[in-house]
């Protein structure tokens, strides 16, 4: 118990030293180059660019198969300015584990300076994380590798044409959960991935939204500062897959937070901290009406969504009260 408390204290002291980024003085470094093939208004490549900016050049990135990999690496072009590897759909967490282990060995053998911090970051989609890659994520988190896993969640298998995933929200129309005459859209609630990740007792886990770019960058940086796994669940709008205007993509990311659908919080060493308390949430309809994937929702479905969103938010508030930070 004492060891855990000491780890917690030391880690929070380290995190306190980090002042945070500032919109006026963002680092100039770009880990990602323009000329990539993402759709207009893509809300998934934006957090990727911000994360690399926050991490700096001493970074090795691993991608899963998905939109971000496809748009960034059509031979002979690559948008990656940091070393990057893409292996397969589900195993980025294991590949990152191998890279992290290799770096540890190279440091022990003096091939890399022990003081040099090399970030190992995974960019994975929701399909690759919630579904096919869950085992690999769980294993890497349990083994405690010092890496950052960023789940860019656009709530469906977008790259292959908008099929549902475990992250698809209730009621959403996708090609494999279509809004039909009898069954109207996705029938299950979005999988609680943060709950699964937090259950692994990792030092840092957080949710982030590209509509709050400085907050997102701060969280990625914090995840890199802790010694052990850091996990960021990023809400990543997809105008193409969600059926919203390209200029509205970041607006949906803002409304998702302001309607309590995707609250922004951190879990630092098991302690819940809600970053933005939404005491007066905006109506959920404001978020839903921007997206064609929710166009078919019946009043009953919308009622259910409202009730459930509020319930989940209240659960989160309770968690922050029970397992919150004293200081």
């Amino acid at each position: 118990m004492k060891f855990m408390e000491q780890r917690s204290k030391a880690m929070r002291a380290e995190l306190k030293k980090f002042r945070g980024f500032n919109l006026k003085n963002l680092p100039e470094f770009e880990g990602f180059a323009p000329g990539h093939r993402a759709c207009q208004g893509c809300g998934t490549v934006l957090p990727l660019k911000l994360a690399l900016k926050a991490l700096g050049p001493n970074t090795i990135a691993v991608s899963t198969t998905g939109c971000m990999e496809i748009i960034s690496s059509p031979f002979p072009y690559t948008s990656w300015k940091v070393p990057w590897i893409h292996v397969a759909f589900e195993n980025a967490a294991s590949v990152a584990s191998g890279i992290e282990a290799a770096i540890k060995v190279l440091k022990r053998k003096g091939k890399i300076s022990k003081r040099r911090k090399i970030n190992v970051v995974v960019f994975a989609g929701d399909g690759a994380t919630f579904d096919i890659g869950l085992q690999f994520l769980s294993g890497a988190l349990e083994r405690g590798h010092d890496f950052i896993y960023i789940c860019l969640d656009n709530e469906a298998y977008m790259n292959t044409g908008v099929q549902r995933s475990g992250a698809t929200p209730y009621g959403a129309h996708t090609t494999t959960s279509p809004a039909g005459k009898v069954i109207k859209g996705q029938v299950t609630w979005k999988k609680n991935l943060m709950g699964i990740v937090v259950a692994h007792n990792i030092p840092y886990a957080a949710t982030a939204s590209p509509a709050f770019p400085v907050d997102l960058m701060n969280k990625v940086k914090k995840a890199s500062l802790v010694n052990g796994p850091g996990f960021i669940h990023v809400f990543s709008p997809c105008p193409t897959g969600w059926g919203c205007k390209s200029e509205d993509s970041i607006l949906t990311a803002k409304l998702a937070v302001e309607t309590r659908i995707f609250p922004l919080y951190e879990v630092i060493d098991g302690k819940y901290i809600i970053n933005r308390k939404i005491d007066k949430p905006k109506p959920v309809e404001e978020y839903l009406k921007l997206q064609r994937r929710f166009r078919h929702l019946t009043p009953e479905q919308i009622e259910y969504i409202k009730k459930r969103v509020d319930e989940e938010y209240k659960k989160l508030v309770k968690l922050s009260e029970c397992f919150g930070v004293e200081s």
């Binding site: 991608s63 690496s73 070393p83 590897i85 590949v95 282990a101 290799a102 349990e142």
Partner: protein
Amino acid sequence: MGEKVAKEVSIAIADAVAQCKVNVISAYPITPQTHIVEHLAELVNNGELDAEYMPVESEHAAMSACIGAAATGVRTFTSTAAQGLLLMYENLFIASAFRLPIVMVIANRSISAPISIWNDHSDVMTMRDSGWIQTFAENGQEAVDLIYHAYRVAEKALLPVAVNIDGFTLSHVIEPIELLDQELVDKYIPPLRMKYKLDPKKPITMGAIGIPEIYTEAKKAQDEALKASYRIIVNAWKEFEKLTGRKYQPVETYKIEDAEVALIIMGSLAETAMNAVNLLRKKRKKVGLLRFRLWRPFPMRDFIRAIGKVKAIGVIDRAVSHGSTGGPVGIEVRSALYQSNKRPKIVNFIAGLSGRDVTVEDFIEFFERTYEAISKKPKFSYEIYGAKE
């Protein structure tokens, strides 16, 4: 020179891997290779081997971690069998296409269903197309020697190597084995230096999309690399002979020079077959044996040269290729011979599936049936031998 010590072959293999100064080991248990990864865990935790030991959560993760570590420029190892090999299947092709020098030991075991832990070659025969260099060991000493060889070849050719040992019948037996002295190992396997690796000082992109305009070229480049590795493999064995006096060649033959009939067998069953050869030779029958030590790249020239004037070949497969024109080795042998001028008759048996004993008497029967084939063409292109009717 080291001295011969009685050791379980799995333990000796783990000791050899440790001697090769491996840096990252990803381990997942599966019968019958588990003793290898267990002993490596002991060596690491006792401080005798400075390596990162990753107890991964599946074989797919094991190979993924090896790919990540090898891409960062360190020496890696993993070990698996049957279902485990099949689970890491997509990564096998990626590892060879990425030209990563990963070394893997496969303790050959039957693949499900029915689930079976006993020895045959059905697991490794599924990876013929994977682009890996593949070798087969016949006994414990050879298994250990193939490990040293594997690291040297993998890192020179920049291709992954799979060393195959028979599960249980080789992995779990105690044999007299001599490990090389550490100085010789260090001389034989120089430190790994990879030109292309994940390094923030020289960022590169690994795993870009192979659009139709480049995929063919990428595959050709990979194929040429595997074919070119033959020279590296043979030279590495020549170098090994200078260091130890033990001679290894791509194709191993036994009394085949004047043989009229020969059997082709892979792995440790070859030792039983040799007894049959000796018995028949006493009766003045001109019989011989041929074994592939190097399976991929297929040693076409060595094979064609080795079979000499043999009139009939009996190929003993230890895996089934359902609905095909033969067992896996039978298919390759027929295909190789068809491209040469030699036309021995070929009989193909599938035997020794899932640990079923293949005795000296069985081998004598194989020889007799192959003799028959000289005058009478066999009715079936392959036969699953010994199935109870």
